[in-house]
């Protein structure tokens, strides 16, 4: 049951400061407008500490580590 942690972003909070990409370039890159793109899949063990650093460094606290296999909130891509 040791579910791996995933990096998630509250997209509404995120203002594109870009510290996460600075501190965790292995998992985060920035798009052409400066907003983070997260590598898919769980955080590898050796990067968990760095991910936690990135999480606490985010000026708007938009980053979170979720310990779920896959966040499932019942949404459907087409749901209006």
């Amino acid at each position: 049951m040791s579910a791996k942690a995933h990096l998630t972003i509250d997209r509404i909070r995120c203002d594109g400061h870009g510290l996460c990409a600075e501190l965790l370039p292995e998992l985060v890159r920035l798009d052409d407008w400066g907003y983070p793109i997260i590598a898919p899949g769980p955080i590898p063990d050796h990067l968990v500490a760095h991910a936690q650093n990135a999480m606490t460094a985010c000026p708007v606290l938009a980053l979170a580590l979720k310990r779920a296999e896959k966040p499932d909130d019942g949404r459907n891509p087409r749901h209006r």
Binding site: D10, R11, I12, R13, W33, R78, R80
Partner: protein, 401 residues
């Protein structure tokens, strides 16, 4: 084929059907509580707001929650500019929608009902308000009408919940899902008006009677008699075109599902069934039921540019990738339309439409890039060799073709 169920009864030109006529024609709705969940589940009814999610499954997951009395949000925002079916239904058969809402509330033991209606749907607002006023006192107290601003995203389910709770029609970050914590933190059912109208009939006549049901669609574009039709789910796109009067010109592409849907080349589209579940299984969507016909003189690139510009302007500007990404995508599409094809913009369209997907709180950016990618595939030839002929005369959405 055409089959009238929701729109059966007096001719639509005669306006809203009053309570007395409604009850005389269909009988009163049965008094049934949580047992209705089983009936709805076995009917196989799917949501008609665009997701085609099984209605019974959704109800059951809300009935399971214990975080206070649930709230029912009736979604008649109909923010999709091409769609008319929800407002036609609310205008003509308001009591069918209210019956469905009240039945849902009883099944889920919900105390409150909020009927969300788009501000610009004036006939629907008048009809639903008048219908509610005809209802007996307890029902009148239970339900209220909430006016949604005329924005595309206002009909997104979390945006309707936020609108009802706090007056702001913008999506929220999930989790928590609305099933867990929606309006005032209570479990909340958000259900499209058409879905609820079907419930009103299923409760009366049973899951077996429902069969495959019917679907309300809006035919737009190059058909002689565009408008709202009620059809059986197996009906083909070809039959829909014929039922909408056909057209004098050859059709080159069909927009299935409206602005959140996809372009399909005419050759492939004619035999597709107007069936939310069957289309979903083919990687397409019926969405909110818009079927648009583009005739052979229409330009796929320019139509796509117009629609992308509209979708970009309808971002609620909360999430960077959606706000900036859709604008950049719309600009690049418009540049190809205006100044002609260029490999840089084409490469950007392909890359950005992959990057933007899945990076908003709601699925507005996802819907927009699914639509764009379908255009890049169906109009690949035009995107690669587009002459500079389009002038961006306005940012207003236009009927396709």
């Amino acid at each position: 084929m055409i089959r009238q169920r929701l729109l059966a009864g007096p001719d639509l030109s005669r306006g809203p059907e009053g309570l007395a006529w409604h009850v005389q024609r269909l009988g009163p709705p049965p008094v049934i509580g949580p047992a209705l969940i089983d009936v709805v589940e076995s009917s196989g009814l799917t949501g008609r707001g665009g997701a085609a999610f099984p209605v019974g499954t959704k109800w059951r997951s809300i009935a399971r929650r214990h975080a206070g009395q649930p709230v029912v949000v009736v979604n008649g925002a109909e923010g999709e500019p091409q769609s008319l079916k929800d407002r036609v239904l609310m205008t003509a058969r308001p009591h069918l929608v209210l019956d469905g809402a009240l039945l849902a509330a009883r099944a889920l033991r919900a105390s409150r009902i909020a009927v969300v209606i788009g501000e610009s749907h004036r006939d629907a607002l008048a009809s639903m308000s008048a219908a509610l006023a005809e209802r007996p006192e307890p029902e009148l107290r239970q339900a209220r009408i909430v006016i949604a601003p005329p924005r595309y995203v206002a009909g997104e389910s979390s945006a309707t919940v936020r609108l009802v709770g706090s007056g702001i029609a913008r999506p929220t970050t999930r989790p928590p899902s609305m099933h867990e914590a929606g309006v005032d933190g209570r479990p909340t059912l958000v259900q499209n008006v058409e879905s609820l109208a079907h419930v009103a009939l299923i409760a009366r006549f049973g899951a077996g009677w429902f069969g495959a049901g019917t679907v309300l669609i809006t035919v737009v574009g190059a058909a002689s008699a565009p408008g709202v039709l009620e059809v059986e789910p197996g009906t083909s796109v070809r039959e829909v075109f014929a039922a909408a009067g056909g057209g004098s010109r050859a059709t080159r592409a069909i927009l299935l599902g409206g602005y959140f849907g996809a372009w399909v080349g005419a050759g492939k589209a004619w035999d597709l069934p107007i069936d939310p579940v069957a289309l979903r299984d083919r990687g397409l969507t019926l969405g909110c039921g818009v079927v648009g016909f583009l005739h052979d003189a229409g330009c796929g690139v320019c139509e796509t540019a117009r629609i992308m510009r509209y979708l970009a302007s309808e971002s609620s500007a909360q999430c960077g990738p959606c706000f900036f990404g859709l604008r950049a995508l719309a600009d690049a599409t418009a540049r190809i339309g205006e100044r002609g094809s260029n490999p840089e913009d084409l490469a950007r369209l392909h890359r950005w439409s992959q990057e933007v997907a899945g990076r908003g709180a709601c699925r507005h950016p996802d819907g927009a890039v699914i639509f764009l990618r379908s255009a890049l595939a169906v109009f690949a030839e035009e995107f690669a060799n587009h002459p500079p002929h389009w002038r961006a005369e306005s940012s207003q959405p236009r009927r396709i073709a």
